[in-house]
């Protein structure tokens, strides 16, 4: 790996913590039992999973019996939408205009099967307009799903307010907390939601594990049928090593959340002071955001091009989310915020982590300035 490569894409994925890896390794090699097997290999694997379940539950102030392990955030979101709306019956599903595709696309699939779809709009800061929910819930609704923090802008959403409105109507509220976990306090009980999605690889845990935290009174149909694991809600031999890693990552995250934030926030502020000097447009700047995320653009500079240029200079950033990084469409989140398509096409996301430093930010800003100047000159010649 190129040692000058500086990683500024923590919202896409994070490095696996060395201590977390240590907890996982035995479960890949000697302690390899199938948790459903009744012999000692199996029982050992089973107790490791249940310990991890407790760790995940503790990290979000939920009860272990509310934790359903899945193969990741995408699957947990799919299970939520398809499983809850499916169990309820044909009805309306409400999401927001800024959800991740792994919420909006299963919702769309339900629409093709006869459910109705409605979306809450966002204001120009990228925050969901909670006031709209009350009117929408006049129609019979099986589920409302609004993410806790947006993966592109980092804007925090008024989930508790939405939960209160949903509860008044007797409707289930789900929140995708995949980006929020590890960056802000995520408290299932306090948020007052019925369901919540978490992902391991965003908090220095392994890829391949996620969870749906679910109030047990909510009816849900499984998506994956078979051997009956996870109380029949998610069949398939459990990925013991990844689940163990997920649990360990949750515990680690809890222990250093405030340290993480007191370190990261000033870094992001430093970055944005520099960006302001370069006349960047920072999306959602006035919203309360995740402390590590900065989503911005420069007038007349194409985002993809700038991202590639930055990569050549040793900086890993993103234009929009990883999941859509091969499409050249402008971010739908920005469009929903009313940003002009041309400006939206310039969007770049920097998402910081504990390994990033002040020096890296400063170097980045210097390189950014160079690249913008160079690209502007090229555009001038081309025109």
């Amino acid at each position: 790996m190129n040692s000058t490569n500086i990683y500024f894409d923590h919202n896409a994925t994070t490095a696996l913590d060395a201590g977390v890896l240590e907890t996982m390794l035995p479960f890949m090699t000697q302690q390899h039992g199938n948790p459903t097997s009744r012999h000692s290999f199996g029982r050992h694997a089973r107790s490791a999973i249940e310990r991890a379940r407790e760790q995940v539950a503790n990290a979000v102030n939920a009860h272990p019996s509310q934790v359903i392990f899945t193969s990741g955030g995408t699957e947990a979101n799919n299970l939520t939408i398809t499983g809850i709306a499916g169990s309820y019956g044909v009805s309306q599903i409400v999401t927001s205009a800024i959800e991740h595709p792994c919420v909006s696309r299963p919702a769309l699939a339900m629409k093709h099967r006869g459910w109705k779809l409605a979306a809450l709009n966002v204001d120009d800061c990228g925050i969901v307009k909670a006031v709209e929910l009350d009117a929408l819930l006049k129609a019979d609704t099986s589920i409302v799903s609004v993410m806790l923090a947006n993966n592109e802008t980092g804007a925090l959403q008024p989930v508790t307010e939405l939960a209160e409105i949903a509860r008044r109507h007797g409707t289930t509220l789900h929140t995708d907390a995949v980006q929020a976990l590890g960056k802000i306090k995520v408290d299932f009980a306090e948020l007052n939601v019925h369901a919540m999605t978490l992902s391991s690889h965003k908090i220095n845990g392994p890829q391949g594990a996620g969870a749906l935290i679910l109030d047990k009174r909510i009816d849900i149909q499984p998506m994956i049928h078979g051997g009956g694991q996870e109380r029949g809600l998610r069949s398939g031999t459990e990925n013991v090593a990844a689940i163990v890693g997920f649990g360990a990552a949750c515990e680690l995250m809890q222990s250093r959340l405030s340290q993480h934030n007191s370190y990261i926030r000033p870094l992001r502020e430093r970055l944005e002071r520099g960006l302001n000097k370069l006349d960047a447009v920072i999306f959602g700047a006035v919203a309360v955001r995740l402390p590590n995320t900065s989503f911005f653009a420069f007038n007349e500079i194409d985002g993809e091009t700038l991202v590639m240029a930055l990569d050549r200079k040793g900086f890993a950033v993103a234009s929009g989310s990883a999941c859509s990084s091969d499409s050249s469409e402008p971010s739908s989140v920005l469009l929903a915020m009313g940003v002009e398509p041309d400006l939206a096409k310039g969007a770049i996301r920097v998402s910081l982590g504990m390994q990033n430093s002040q020096e890296q930010i400063d170097t980045f800003l210097a390189v950014l300035e160079q690249e913008i100047t160079r690209l502007r000159q090229l555009t001038a010649i081309a025109v």
Partner: protein, 404 residues
């Protein structure tokens, strides 16, 4: 003899990750942790390259095109995707599905779920040796049959179905043919260029790879379509969204590469060990092998011990890790539905043990196991009133048991 107890003889439930596989995975857990879908930086590209190399290795084992391999979180998910995905996509042509009573729950339950949604299903009973009678399969076909699912190797009894013959019949009738090969990789040759199969499920953790990763083969020529079950970022050509777990994929690729290179030699060794186990156990009276011995993978030996109570048997042999019934249903005390489908009585089904041996099983392990079984069966039968009656020549099937 040097053995380390408990001796692991439950390779069909899961396998340890081969050290070579673990070694290959670790860099992708630590250094190369990028999201393979990140197109904008080298962290992502390195991960993507590893994913594509692994895809080729999986394709190579089964003589398929890498573009025909979709990553999933495991064979259970692959089975769900194949069965539900194909049934829904082709439901315009018909709503009848054919499968077999001895399939894994990860096939049976999705089919049952489809029945709940308005499909019809025929669950064929195999012959007492576990193999499907081709004529019976033909007889079950209806004009509205769209999908058939038959596993290549059975997880409980290890028998190998004649997938080629069944596939040819499906072709003739325009039926989509799915094959669960979770137990087959590394044990039998699979050539998807020759086999008339449309969809095939694979699992890594049955072939010395990590848990949590599997694949689904989806034929391109002629093209097979599926309705995706997991929606989101559009990964895997839209068929299976979700961030790819690079390290797991790399693990599966390496596991399948080793399987391809070492299968022949390994099978020969394992067959010798299994036969040693079998001849040792056949010294015991009243033992019955479940499933055809010839059309069977060399790793599996499923045996019923008559006149011994099942639960006590499993408790008595704690020194070996085996299973009675498949792992996925060991939690319930029902007799194995697979053995019952073969026509085994409840008692014989209950008192069965599945021995499944593998890469790290030694001759000493086998000898220890034979000695252990002989000793424990002996003791349990001494305590068994049924055994006493049998010794006295009483035909137990003629006894009228009084209710209490």
């Amino acid at each position: 003899m040097t053995v380390k107890t408990p001796i692991y003889l439950d390779y069909s439930a899961t396998t340890p990750v081969d050290a070579r596989v673990a070694e290959k995975m670790i860099p992708y857990l630590t250094e190369h942790f990028g999201n393979p879908a990140s197109r904008s930086h080298s962290f992502g590209w390195v991960a993507e390259k590893a994913v594509e190399n692994a895809r080729e290795e999986v394709a190579n084992l089964v003589n398929a095109d890498p573009r025909e391999i979709i990553w999933t979180s495991g064979a259970t998910e692959s089975n769900n995707l194949a069965i539900k995905g194909a049934a829904h996509f082709y439901s315009g042509k018909g709503k009848h599905i054919i499968t077999v009573q001895t399939e894994h729950k990860a096939v049976i339950d999705p089919v049952r779920e489809l029945e709940r949604l308005g499909f019809e299903a025929t669950f064929l009973q195999p012959e007492p040796n576990g193999l499907l009678d081709i004529e019976k399969f033909k007889a079950a076909i209806r004009p509205d049959t769209v999908l058939a699912s038959v596993m290549l190797v059975n997880n409980e009894i290890g028998v190998i179905q004649d997938i080629e013959a069944i596939g040819n019949i499906c072709r003739e009738h325009g039926i989509i043919f799915h094959v669960d090969s979770a137990q087959a990789t590394g044990k039998v040759t699979i050539d998807l260029e020759k086999l008339p199969v449309d969809l095939m499920s694979f699992s890594a953790h049955k072939t010395y790879g990590p848990k949590g990763i599997g694949a689904l083969y989806v034929r391109r020529k002629p093209r097979v379509r599926l309705e995706a079950q997991m929606h989101g970022g559009g990964h895997e050509r839209g068929l299976r969204s979700g961030t790819l777990a690079t390290h797991q994929i790399v693990g599966m690729g390496e596991a399948f590469r080793i399987a391809r290179e070492e299968m022949e030699l390994e099978n020969a060794r394992i067959r010798r060990l299994r036969d040693r186990l079998l001849s040792g156990l056949q010294d015991i009276e009243e033992v019955y092998v479940n499933g055809d011995l010839k059309q069977r993978v060399p790793h599996n030996l499923n045996i019923s011990f008559n006149f011994v109570e099942g639960e006590s048997l499993i408790m008595a042999v704690k020194d070996i890790a085996v299973s009675s019934g498949s792992a996925c249903t060991s939690a319930s005390l029902e007799p194995s539905y697979v053995l019952r489908a073969l026509g085994r009585s409840d008692e014989l089904a209950h008192s069965s043990i599945r021995f499944s041996i593998g890469r790290f099983t030694t001759e000493d392990d086998i000898d220890y196991t034979v000695a252990l079984m002989k000793s424990k069966i002996g003791k349990l039968r001494e305590l068994s009133p049924l055994w006493e009656m049998h010794l006295e020549g009483i035909d137990l099937s003629k006894v009228e048991w009084a209710a209490h």
